[in-house]
């Protein structure tokens, strides 16, 4: 198996919350700073003013997000940023699964109140995928726990690889792909992006990117 040191450099620091030990390496530090900058940028920016032109009408309307709605979405965006910081720094497998779930649910929350049946339909399908995802995500974690007897990534990095772990790796990958709405399953996401309120929906792309980066690192640690 791959040591954490080989994968992303020396460990700058760790926080010992008893069994759960989040750690920071140069690699995750870069990811954390990206997330922080992006989240602050999104939290400070105003919602877009979209102009809609129609055929056979001589007017251009502007559509904007209501103030209340924008506030709710901003809250969800900030929460998503916090959970992403957790995703990239956590040092425990089960904790990782929980953080990924939180990312998924906040992503859905950004779209929850939009009165457009296409967007709502896509959000609902994404929610269904998210609910199915609890099976592979937590199941994969539990199979790893049964095989190795530990959940800490620091200890798991020193364990030898075996076929059962490959199954749990596949399951964790599938789970994270669904929860973060990654590559083959982002059809739901494309539909959701038709929603108005531009700056906040960009958080979804960032969350996909970060979840994917982190899950690849965890797959390397496991096998």
């Amino acid at each position: 198996m791959n040591d954490i040191m080989d994968l992303n450099g020396f460990v700058i620091g760790h926080i010992p919350f008893a069994d759960i030990v989040p750690y920071l390496t140069p690699f995750s530090l870069a990811l954390v700073s990206t997330i922080v900058v992006f989240t602050v940028f999104l939290a400070l920016s105003n919602p877009e003013l979209r102009s809609v032109a129609r055929f056979r009408e001589d007017t251009v309307r502007t559509v904007t997000v209501e103030k209340k709605e924008a506030r709710f979405r901003r809250f969800m965006t900030i929460l998503c940023g916090i959970s992403l910081i957790g995703v990239v720094t956590t040092g425990d497998l089960f904790n990782f699964a929980l953080f990924v779930s939180l990312t998924g649910i906040t992503n859905m929350g950004i779209f929850a109140g939009i009165k457009d049946s296409h967007v709502l339909d896509a959000a609902f399908q994404y929610g269904l995928v998210m609910m199915i995802c609890t099976l592979p995500l937590f199941g994969g974690v539990a199979i790893t726990l049964a095989k190795t007897g530990t959940l800490s990534l620091g200890v798991l990095a020193g364990m030898p690889s075996n076929p059962i772990l490959n199954i749990s790796r596949t399951l964790i990958l599938v789970g994270a792909v669904g929860e973060g709405a990654l590559a083959p399953f982002f059809a739901t996401k494309v539909e959701m992006i038709r929603a108005k309120g531009a700056p906040y929906i960009n958080m979804m792309h960032l969350s996909s990117l970060m979840v994917f980066t982190r899950v690849i690192e965890i797959l390397f640690i496991l096998g």
């Binding site: 779930s101 049946s117 339909d121 609902f124 929610g127 199915i132 199979i143």
Partner: protein
């Protein structure tokens, strides 16, 4: 250590759990496959939400098959995550259906059919008693579980029908209290990590805070639902 130490907590997992593990996993996989194939064949969106519970049961099976105290502790977060997702997704489904109806020009009300209230003595007496029992038992349990049980009791109480005494303003006040309770809970955790020698006060702060928080959240949801349906 006393001579019974190994029966208090063994160093290795007992053989019985090891023997049962492969069987449990195979059963869990079969359950999951049945549930997932049902999901593939189903067309109704509401039914889909219900069928997804079957793969989630399979997840509980896989986690609990490990058979340690840790696995027992891990089931609770898994359960809560699936419950939370169920809550959010079903709300979005309702909202989507309403939006679709509005587009078609139909009435956006959820309940646009008329019904006569069933007049049965049992419905008037048994449900409040059940809810009171739930609340009392939840208070005895305390903690997160207790909060869920007490909250279920409050939900039943609110859905029974006409209840006097508690106004909308009262529940808004309660929402404020639940916020304070959440702060208590977090402070309890903080004391655990910073000054563990004061664990008792931390325990009571977190235990008491979370029960008020969870129970009142359920209550708040109940009042929202009642407002919507009884208008």
């Amino acid at each position: 250590m006393n001579p019974l130490a190994d029966t208090v907590v063994p160093t290795l997992v007992p053989q019985i759990f090891v023997n049962f593990y492969p069987i449990a996993i195979v059963i869990a996989i079969i359950t999951a496959v049945v549930g997932l194939s049902g999901l593939i064949l189903e067309r109704n969106d509401f039914q889909k939400i219900l069928i997804i519970q079957i793969p989630i049961f399979a997840m509980y099976l896989i986690v609990s098959a490990v058979g340690t105290d840790l696995a027992e502790a891990l089931i609770l977060p898994g359960m809560v995550v699936s419950l939370a997702e169920l809550l959010a997704v079903s709300e979005i489904l309702i909202f989507r259906e309403l939006t679709k109806r509005e587009k078609k020009g139909e009435s956006p009300r959820v309940m646009n059919f008329k019904y006569d209230q069933i007049k049965m003595e049992v419905l008037k007496t048994a449900l409040p008693i059940t809810s009171v029992v739930c609340v009392i038992y939840g208070v005895i349990l305390t903690g997160f579980t207790g909060g869920a049980v007490a909250g279920a009791g409050i939900l039943i109480y609110l859905f029974v029908g006409k209840v006097g005494g508690f106004s909308h303003e009262f529940w808004e006040e309660m929402a404020g209290i639940s916020g304070v309770a959440y702060v208590f809970w977090l402070l309890g955790f903080l004391i655990y990590f910073i000054a563990p020698q004061y664990w008792l006060i931390a325990l009571f702060m977190s235990g008491g805070g979370i029960i008020i928080k969870v129970a009142l959240k359920f209550g708040l949801l109940g009042i929202l639902g009642r407002e919507e349906y009884n208008r």
